[in-house]
Every structure is written in C-alpha cells, then in structure tokens.
Symmetry: C2
Subunit: 170 residues, 2 copies
DNA sequence: CTTGGAATGTCAACAAGGCTGACGTATCTT
DNA sequence: AAGATACGTCAGCCTTGTTGACATTCCAAG
C-alpha cells in the first residue's frame, strides 16, 4: 500500500490508484443511500418524498427565507420547488407570508406541525450521523468534512458556508 | 473545539452538538451534488441518466454479473432496472449472454462502446475525487472513508466490501 | 405619471425513473 | 411431474425533475 518516492512527506500519498479512487466513489454511493434511508422511510408514510425533506430542512435552517433563496440552495427550478411547497403549505407545515418591503417575495417559515416533522426527520438523520462519527472517531470526522468540502462545487460551498440567510426585516 | 473530560483520549469528542451534526448533514448533501454533477452532464447529452450510470459502473466493476446480482447492489426493482438495461443493450453498450451453467441467468458485460463511456464517466468522477483527496490530504482521506463506511447500512457494507462478484465459469 | 423591463411566483404539460401487481417462459431442483 | 428460481414484459401509478406561458409587483427612465 505504501509506495512512491518516500521523499515528500505530505505528498507521498498523491499516488492515488484507480482502485483507491473507485473505492471512494462507491463509499459515497452506498453511504448516501444510508444517509437518506431513515428520512425516506418516515416521509413515505405520509405521502411525502425527499424533495419535501430538503425544503423543510432549509426552511428550518433559514426561517423567513424567500422562494428564490431556497431555489438557489436546492438547485432546482422554481416550478419544481413550487409543487412541493404548495403541498406543504396546504397541509399546514409551512407558512408563506407576503414580504413587507417587497410584496413580490414570499417568506417561508415552519409552522408548529412543520417544526415537529422537521425534528423527527433530523433526529433520525442525526442519530445516524452521530453513530458514524462515534464509530469513526474525532480525527476521522475532521477528515470526512475536509474531503466533502473539497468535493463541492465552488458555488455550493458558498451556501454551505453561509450558515444563515435569515432576513429579519420582512 | 477541544473540550470534555480530558481523561479518555478517543472519547473526548463524544460531545457532538446538533450544530456539528447538521453541518455534517449538509456537507453530505452538497458534496453528493458535486459528486454526481460531472457524470450527469456527460450523460444528459446522450439521453441517459443517473440510473444508466449506476448500471454501467457496477457492470464494469463486476463483469459477467447477473441481473439478480445487479438488482441487489443497486437496490431497485427488476422492472426499473430492466428499462435501463434494455436501452443499454439496444444501444450496444452492454452485452447480455445466456449463462452456461445455469441457462436462466444472463451475464452482463460492457461492450467496447460501453467500456469507452464508462471510462469517460469514471474519469470525470475520479478527477473530482482525486482533487478532493489531494486538497484534503492523506489523513483526511482515511477519515473520510471511515465515516462513510460507518454510515452505510450493514447490508450495503456487504456489497461494498465484496470487491468483485465476478463469475468466472459461465 | 406612466410605461416597459426585471424579478417573483403560479399553472400546465411532459419525461425520467422509481414503485406495485400480474403474467409468461425457460430452466433448475427435488 | 411439481414447485421454485431467474428473467422479461405489460400496465399503471407516484415523485420530482424539466420547459413554456402567464400574472403580479417593483423600479427606473422617460
């Protein structure tokens, strides 16, 4: 496994075999499946899907966010998002309020019920993440985050870094 | 960042805040998007989708695998897989040969053309993975893999560990 | 003030790719 | 001969992505 010129310390593993890379690729594939499995199960019981989960997650993260903001973060078309949003609003999980400053905008927040669903979803997902973190150990966690961050598109790292895009003056 | 009772070395970071976990969750979300972006682009030009990519990947990994094997690895129904497989066979990217020992089975392999497409897809994906690995460094890579492996379902780790399920006696 | 363009959000229709259910056929296995 | 297994296919449904068309609102130039 250890090979290549032993000179450069940090560089010695720049020798990445296709096999190592393939293993990383498959790790992503299988892990992502596990990652989404629990929320998927919870949601399918209620007639929702992964798209609803994503919307709920990011509305929870940034209460009062606008549809356009959400669009950028999720990377889908507004029509696609709208369908999901409409059912969430109809079902009373999300509240949409017309912007005070700019009446074209809609500000999105979770209702009580929406927050409750969000909690059950993120509890499940956090449990799995916590389990993985504890199994792998703290140093592994740091590496995990570093690699994932390096794997994102630049554009997405922007949203990833921006913890909140809350808008306080409606 | 360093906190908790300093006694237990490996245990000191068992204190995982919801914020840390949420950050990990979003890292998975955004990174997976980047991870699939390049192949998606290549494929959409040719009228294929992510489902085709997955089939091609695992046929390449395990040449001669059977339909049933593929079904288990991919975790979809045979009707769903069949739709994808049919177009790949019609387009001459995948070859399906009747099993020698068991004539009910079909053994799947990539044709020349299929292998060429596979190469262009995995080149793109490996480039991104390589970039992430190099940016993050060798220690981060080990951690990355450890966390992902701990995040999989048991059942999936079985397929992940099984490098090949090649069947040599057709 | 008005008017035209830009931003925002909604409605309609279509496609990909999941799913279930039902069946047919060939081929083991007992 | 009978039942189980592997594979393919038809039909129909759902979620979630897409494009196109359109209504509303805002803002800035005339």
């Amino acid at each position: 496994m250890a090979q290549g010129t032993p000179g450069q310390t940090g560089q010695s593993l720049l020798f990445l075999t296709d096999e190592q890379l393939r293993k990383g690729i498959e790790a992503m594939f299988f892990a992502y499946r596990g990652f989404t499995a629990d929320p998927d199960r919870i949601l399918s019981d209620q007639g929702y899907g992964r798209a609803h989960h994503r919307a709920i997650h990011f509305i929870h993260r940034s209460p009062g966010t606008t549809v356009n903001n959400l669009l950028s973060v999720l990377g889908v078309t507004k029509q696609s998002l709208n369908r999901v949003l409409r059912t969430l609003i109809e079902d009373g999980l999300v509240a949409s309020t017309v912007g005070k400053r700019d009446k074209r905008e809609r500000h999105l927040t979770l209702t009580e019920d929406g927050a409750a669903l969000e909690r059950s979803l993120s509890d499940a997902q956090r449990d799995r993440m916590r389990h993985a973190y504890r199994t792998a150990g703290p140093e592994a966690v740091a590496g995990f985050r570093q690699v994932l961050e390096a794997m994102m598109d630049e554009e997405m790292r922007f949203y990833y870094d921006a913890l909140k895009d809350r808008i306080d003056e409606r």
